[in-house]
């Protein structure tokens, strides 16, 4: 196993560990919502866990898995060396420690402002030391993410190591990400100009266009972490800064603009790129509509910069025109995602008869997960319906968790099942993988739908109910969580049975 393979495996194994942690947290919170553990699990602790849960799930699991996969696949597809294995290695440690520190900010220091961090909640209601620890942890996370993007951009755009510098990479990135060369050519009246982006495989186009979104996401969120850090240090020095220096509504707009980019960059564009890569490999046929999907990725990138208002549909001081714009642009994502799915499904259709390998099954169910979770997202992102659904369990259940667990996670598992044999030379057991798929997908669906239906009946997210309200729905969600846990354990058993602990530990040795 070469250094790049070890690196990828290390990232993925750590990601799987964090998925397990996120799952345990989820189950503990669920038990509290069905009024168990009430004596030992006070609201302060519950909300600390709820604050770090998305960081563990998104950055610990999803990001680390994506980073591991792309560190392996991008150089392989381009037939180039990774720009810097050292940076990739540092990025691994910074991310791992960053997630751990963020987790500790809740567990040890009681930080519980939730991931939304609405101004001035973190500063008003939590001890400065907890805010500072959270700020340090998240700055580490976003620094790691930025190191990863630097490495991706340099690997993709630099012709060779030492040729060109940051300026060259930035120019290439902007030109290719937004088809600026094509715009220039049209301006000069050049007909039939083929943009430079067509010289890159569609998977790589998805990677660097997705990285544009996620870079902007990391920069915005890092800036917010720095702001929290400054306020917390001032608080620790007994020189508190007035919270009125920051306008809560402008802050909220900036926050959602930056945060939503992760949904488009990581969840939608990276997923699309992965489908575009895996499906042709798995069915042995060229991607259907390959030329068109490059434009679809561009449309997704452009749309993603203008959809944050769908998070602010319940904010009445927000101008109505912006809210309606947010709604209409969000429907645009239905079109781009619909075209993406169409391209993938047509590729499979035209390759029939298809032998459904494990990764292909996971991938197809991932499409199903995205369809189910995405439709819920489109519904709640309407100005009028948001009045009834905002901040209910619908948003986080049917949309959030189904999209992330039945959609994104199934794609990540598809990549693991496809890439692990490439790295190790050994296939994972397909029957156990089928069981993993059934339990995990069904569990995610049962959990998400139970939460969503509770939301329809008025159950809020981020709210503990003390009188047994919505009990049946939460029991349903707990059963869904338990099914997912069984699926996850089957996956772990399959992994360890195939590769053994000893072989897996090689990934952590120099």
């Amino acid at each position: 196993m070469g250094p790049r393979e070890k690196l990828a495996l290390r990232y993925v194994l750590t990601a799987v560990f964090w998925l397990g942690v996120a799952g345990i947290e989820g189950m503990l919170m669920r038990l509290r919502l069905i009024n168990l553990l009430t004596d030992i699990y006070v609201p302060e602790h519950f909300y600390s866990m709820m604050t770090v849960h998305p960081y563990v799930g998104i950055y610990g699991w999803a990001y680390m898995a994506v980073m591991g996969a792309f560190y392996y696949l991008v150089p392989k597809v381009l037939n180039k060396e990774l720009y810097s294995e050292r940076v990739a290695d540092i990025s691994y440690w910074v991310m791992t420690i960053g997630v751990l520190v963020t987790w500790l900010s809740g567990f040890l220091f009681g930080f519980a402002a939730l991931y939304t961090l609405y101004w001035p909640l973190p500063i008003e209601r939590f001890p400065p030391v907890s805010v500072l620890v959270f700020s340090i942890g998240t700055i580490m996370i976003f620094s790691s993410v930025l190191m990863f993007f630097f490495n991706m951009f340099a690997t993709i755009f630099l012709p060779s190591r030492g040729a060109g510098g940051p300026g060259f990479v930035a120019k290439e990135l902007l030109t290719l990400a937004f088809n600026l060369d094509k715009i220039k050519a049209v301006g000069r009246g050049i007909k039939n100009y083929l943009p430079k982006v067509y010289s890159y495989p569609v998977f790589i186009v998805g990677v660097f266009r997705g990285c544009v979104d996620t870079t902007l996401n990391a920069l915005t969120m890092a800036a917010i972490s720095v702001l929290l850090g400054i306020y917390s240090i001032a608080g620790l020095l007994n020189l508190p800064l007035p919270t009125s220096l920051v306008d809560p509504l402008i802050y909220k707009n900036v926050f959602w603009w930056g945060l939503d980019l992760i949904a488009d960059g990581n969840v939608l564009i990276f997923t699309a790129a992965t489908w575009y890569f895996l499906v042709p490999v798995l069915v042995g046929r060229k991607l259907y509509g390959e030329q068109v999907v490059r434009t679809v990725i561009l449309a997704d990138l452009v749309l993603s910069l203008f959809v944050w208002n769908h998070h602010m549909l319940a904010d009445t001081p927000q101008p109505l025109i912006l809210q309606i714009q947010g709604q209409i642009f969000t429907w645009g994502e239905l079109i781009t995602m619909g075209l993406t799915m169409f391209s993938v499904l047509m590729t499979i259709w035209l390759a029939r008869p298809v032998k459904y390998s494990t990764p292909l099954k996971f991938l197809l169910f991932s499409i199903l997960g995205y369809a189910i979770g995405g439709s819920a997202g489109i519904i709640q992102a309407n100005y009028a319906l948001n009045r009834y659904l905002h901040n209910t369990q619908w948003v986080i259940g049917i949309h959030g968790h189904v999209q992330l667990l039945a959609g994104l996670s199934m794609t990540i598992f598809a990549v693991i099942y496809a890439v692990a044999p490439m790295i190790t030379g050994k296939e994972l057991d397909s029957k156990l993988a089928d069981l993993h798929l059934v339990f995990f997908f069904a569990g995610a669906l049962v959990m998400g739908l139970s939460m969503g239906f509770a939301g329809v009946e008025g159950m809020l997210r981020r709210t503990i109910y003390f009188n047994g309200e919505y009990f049946g729905y939460m029991v349903g969600a707990a059963i869904g969580g338990a099914l997912m846990a069984i699926g996850f354990l089957i996956f772990l058993y399959n992994f360890i049975r195939t590769y053994s602990f000893k072989a897996v530990l090689i990934a952590f040795k120099k």
Binding site: V292, L339, L345, A351, Y356, A371, I379, N391, E457
Partner: protein
Amino acid sequence: MYIQQIVEIFYMGLVVTYIIFIISFMYITSRRSSGRIVADGGEVHKGMDKAEKTWLLVLITIAIIGNTVLLSPLVPSANMAIWSGSKPVKSVVITIEDYEFKLPEKPIRLQAGVPVEFIVYSNDVTYGFGVFREDGTLVFQMQVVPGYENKIVWVFDEPGVYTIRSTEYSGPEHPMMVVYNAIVVEGGE
């Protein structure tokens, strides 16, 4: 039937359709094709082919219909915010501070069928203002951003007793931010 329950039925129809589609798709594509000539042999297209154009048209049509219906007066919240233009007959001013709703009276007495404006202020952090029926379902809500006038006009269409609850997390005491029997809506015009 409340609007969110109609949404739920529609949504479940979608979910069942998607599941049937994917399972059928898997079954059909795993079988040998019937021998029909496949249009696309794997060559690279220059632009969209007919099937893609048709699908794009379907998606655009769905988006146009969806936006038109959901922004139309058919949905009560859209009607009240965008179309009705009805002037509120009564204003209810509420302030929230340190996890506590400060109501002008308890219960707040209103008439069904009459537009009421709720103006809510926060003196510290962001809260939510949600009005719930006795069965726990949500009537309407908005965010309460500190430093801003947060207001919404609503027409209660049925008499009853309503609960006010914060719909936004504001710290560990957030779940306790509930006022039962906060609003009594009577009669109707």
